[in-house]
């Protein structure tokens, strides 16, 4: 689980071009949207594609994303339970 969290942090930084953020600066329970990392709706789409491409998870209901993408911790939990690759 810890390895997955580190992997997600690296992927988010790279995929979303968070140039001034390092893996160490993201806590597992930091909010990804709003006051935390400050991600927005375009980033949410990028994350949905990342789940599909890297972990084989298709989000049927976009509303699910709100809970899944709350933090690195919630993402890692969801991926662990639902990943197909």
């Amino acid at each position: 689980m810890e390895a997955l969290k580190e992997e997600l942090k690296s992927k988010i930084i790279e995929q979303l071009n968070l140039e001034d953020v390092s893996v160490d600066e993201i806590a597992d329970d930091d909010p990804l949207f709003g006051e935390g990392l400050g991600l927005d709706s375009i980033d949410a789409l990028e994350l949905i594609v990342m789940l599909d491409k890297d972990y084989g998870i298709k989000l049927a209901d976009p509303k699910e994303g709100k809970k899944i993408f709350e933090s690195i911790g919630t993402m890692a939990d969801y991926i662990t339970l639902h990943k197909t690759k």
Binding site: Q15, L16, N17, L18, E19, D20, G38, I42, L45, E46, V49, D52, K53
Partner: protein, 354 residues
């Protein structure tokens, strides 16, 4: 009709031109067939949240526009008009590559959103909150001149008072690869100091962004007046001298009235003959300058030439590195710019001291 003035300038190029307090004092010489811009610190001009989705071309354009705005002492404008030959080609390449690599699946939105040709003009408008006329001209090597002409017409007719005009193009990997394949980029590397003597086909490719604040009100810091702009999609070497003469006559000028000509020679042995025709005949007694050894060839390289012409008029100085033939005139009053790329899309621009 009102006259049109250049009230501020900004250029990001393969030289350190983003600092307006100097004018090609220290030249960076390159030995290559592709040259890239000297980057300013983009973080000083673009908030990190916005910058993270911007490819190089967008950063160059937005930053150059901000420098031009700052120098003009303006926070907003009536219109933003840009010219670009290839638009945001890096994002276009990224988007199309991901379609191919991922078998038309997993398409992400960012590179698609940023890949339009109007992205630079759009991002400038978003950054300063400009809801006015926003337009981008895409027409090979006359993209910038088309934008300049549009702004000139609007200002002359008092449809606007201040217009931000710029030319921007970026280099991208696939773009370089295919232009090398067809020898539009020189096969061998060339030292920029000897570009015009290379004797080979193709050009040294470059990138850059040059922006100008155009206004129908003259200010204390005005650089020059834009007298005329014209473009031709096709023009033969034989037609060129008479076309140039007619262009000057329309502005009540003769060859002898031109103090300096700024030419777009790029060292391509197949197409520099257009410039050579002028250089050795019609304009043989005119002081001649060139610039593509400093910035490389790209569709809006002529915006760098226009930046250079405006700076020469304002400073009354011709930097050593751009002198081609002739001696510097005692006064730089009228400057003529001529450019073409691969024998097509020719432009003539006239600037005058004011």
């Amino acid at each position: 009709m009102k006259p049109v003035y250049i009230n501020s300038v900004a250029s990001i190029s393969a030289q350190r031109t983003f600092d307006n307090s100097v004018f090609l004092d220290d030249i960076i010489a390159y030995t290559d067939n592709v040259i890239r811009v000297v980057d300013p610190n983009y973080k000083e001009f673009i908030p990190p949240a916005a910058a993270r989705r911007m490819a190089k071309g967008i950063k160059m354009g937005v930053t150059a526009s901000k420098i031009a705005l700052q120098e003009a002492g303006l926070e907003n404008v009536d219109a933003i008009i840009t010219g670009t030959g290839l638009g945001c080609i890096a994002d276009s390449e990224k988007f199309v590559s991901s379609i191919i690599d991922d078998n038309e699946e997993y398409l992400t939105p960012t590179s698609f959103i940023q890949s339009t040709h109007n992205t630079v003009a759009g991002q400038i408008a978003l950054g300063i909150g400009c809801k006015g006329y926003n337009f981008t001209y895409v027409h090979s090597s006359i993209s910038f001149e088309s934008a300049l002409l549009d702004a000139k017409l609007q200002l002359e007719n008092e449809e606007a008072q201040n217009i931000l005009v710029g030319g921007v193009d970026e280099l991208a990997d696939h773009h370089i690869k295919i232009h090398k394949l067809v020898n539009h980029i020189k096969v061998d590397v060339v030292n920029s100091k000897g570009l015009l003597e290379s004797g080979t086909e193709g050009a040294v490719f470059g990138e850059g962004a040059s922006f100008f604040m155009l206004s129908n009100e003259k200010r204390e810091n005005t650089y020059a007046e834009v007298l005329d702009v014209t473009t031709y999609n096709s023009l033969s070497e034989q037609e060129l001298p008479n076309t140039l003469r007619s262009f000057l006559q329309e502005n009540n000028l003769e060859i002898a009235d031109v103090d300096i000509v700024v030419m777009g020679n790029n060292g391509d042995v197949n197409y520099d003959k257009y410039y050579d025709t002028l250089s050795h005949e019609l304009l043989k007694n005119t002081s001649q300058t060139y610039y593509k050894h400093l910035c490389g060839e790209f569709n809006t390289a002529s915006s760098f030439g226009t930046w250079m012409a405006a700076k020469m008029i304002k400073t009354q100085h011709v930097p050593k590195a751009i002198k081609l033939r002739g001696v510097q005139p005692s006064e730089i009053r009228t400057v003529l710019l001529y450019n073409q790329y691969r024998g097509e899309n020719h432009s003539l621009v006239l600037l005058r001291r004011c």
